[in-house]
């Protein structure tokens, strides 16, 4: 079997036009006089031809008449909400260079809103901190109560009464309200 010291990979690089000029000339000259490399190159060319031909045959049969309509309908299906598009447009195109980025802008606006609310609706100085309004109903007076079972919908509240130095644990199995 004929062999050639020139690597098959170099012939592949030559075939793919991936060699720089001096080396390319050298390999071209070698291939022209080497039976093995000429055969290798011919095999690469034939594979390329066959692959391109196979794809091209299938491509010719493909119908592109409604291609754009298909793309447009997919775009409409996956389009983000319009507010996000406007936000993107603002960030990418419309926002002046001197204006800070979105996080700073949002934080500044939020701070301004809070300040405005505090100025026009200051909290009453003597208003107590929000606490549970009604005192909870104590269901078990002794300190030996034991929970034997608890369903997944049950609610447990812990209420600490500072004046009486007492802690009340409230277990509600069918509780539906917000607070005790």
């Amino acid at each position: 079997m004929n062999t050639c010291p020139r690597s098959e990979r170099v012939v592949a690089l030559f075939h793919d036009d991936e060699l720089d000029s001096p080396l390319r000339r050298e390999v071209a000259s070698h291939v022209a006089g080497c039976v093995v490399c000429t055969r290798t190159l011919a095999a690469f060319e034939r594979v390329q031809e066959l692959v391109a031909q196979a794809v091209s045959e299938q491509l010719e049969e493909s119908d592109f008449s409604n291609f754009w309509e298909g793309v447009a309908s997919r775009i409409d299906q996956q389009a983000p909400p319009s507010w996000r598009l406007w936000l993107q447009l603002w960030r990418e195109r419309l926002r002046p260079a001197w204006m800070p980025g979105t996080p700073v802008w949002v934080a500044t606006t939020a701070a301004l809103l809070v300040t405005t609310v505090l100025v026009f609706h200051p909290p009453a100085k003597d208003s107590p901190l929000p606490l549970p309004d009604p005192a909870p109903t104590v269901l078990a007076a002794n300190d030996q109560a034991q929970i034997e079972s608890l369903s997944s919908t049950a609610t447990v509240f812990l209420w600490n009464e500072q004046e009486g130095n007492a802690t009340v644990i409230w277990v509600g199995d069918d509780y539906e309200g917000d607070r005790p």
Binding site: L13, D16, E18, F44, A54, Q58, S62, L89, E92
Partner: protein, 188 residues
């Protein structure tokens, strides 16, 4: 005068759908060719390409101008085609149209074939053998051979699309060619 990809991308970023349509028409055949080579089914190839374009449009704001548009587009096509192939390989075959020439992907084009009936059959058989040989390759090898042999891209561009090194491209290309040469040895 035809607008450059950059110009069209810039207009797309401003929400210009007509500019995007121009990009679609410019690249639709190339993307379908890649998807066809990967999936061997025309319907799947068309769907994957349309999905890729829709993804491109939806994410166009994130496209950075230092990359080239078509390498980004081809990357999406290749990834979607690989995903589609994985999905299909998990599905059981419901119809017996594999290998009988009736499926959407394997019948040859009458217009492209020789007028002699005997030659037509030979051409069709050769086309089927090539497609079956390509189907034998792994998705990574298929992608590299299609990008090189069908699209004529450089190793650098392929490495950008497949997000691997130039050496990996060379190695995959070498393996894919050897495998095809072995599978098609009677036709070379």
């Amino acid at each position: 005068m035809e607008s450059s990809d950059w110009e069209l991308v810039r207009r797309c970023k401003e929400g210009d759908r007509q500019a995007f349509r121009e990009l679609v028409e410019r690249y639709q055949r190339k993307t379908v060719a890649i998807a066809l080579g990967m999936l061997h089914d025309r319907e799947d190839a068309l769907e994957v390409s349309q999905e890729a374009f829709a993804k491109v449009f939806t994410n166009i704001q994130q496209f950075k101008e230092e990359a080239s548009f078509y390498t980004w587009l081809y990357r999406i096509v290749v990834n979607l085609a690989i995903d589609r192939q994985r999905q299909k390989s998990r599905q059981p075959l419901l119809d017996d149209d594999q290998g009988n020439g009736e499926s959407g992907g394997v019948d040859a084009t009458p217009a492209a074939m020789n007028s002699d009936p005997y030659e037509q059959v030979k051409d069709k058989e050769l086309g089927d053998r090539i497609r079956m040989a390509i189907a034998e390759l792994t998705p990574a090898h298929k992608a590299v051979i299609l990008l090189r042999e069908v699209e004529g891209l450089s190793y650098e561009e392929i490495s950008e699309i497949l997000q691997c090194s130039r050496g990996t491209v060379m190695s995959r290309l070498h393996y894919a060619r050897k495998r095809l040469q072995s599978l098609l040895r009677h036709d070379l």
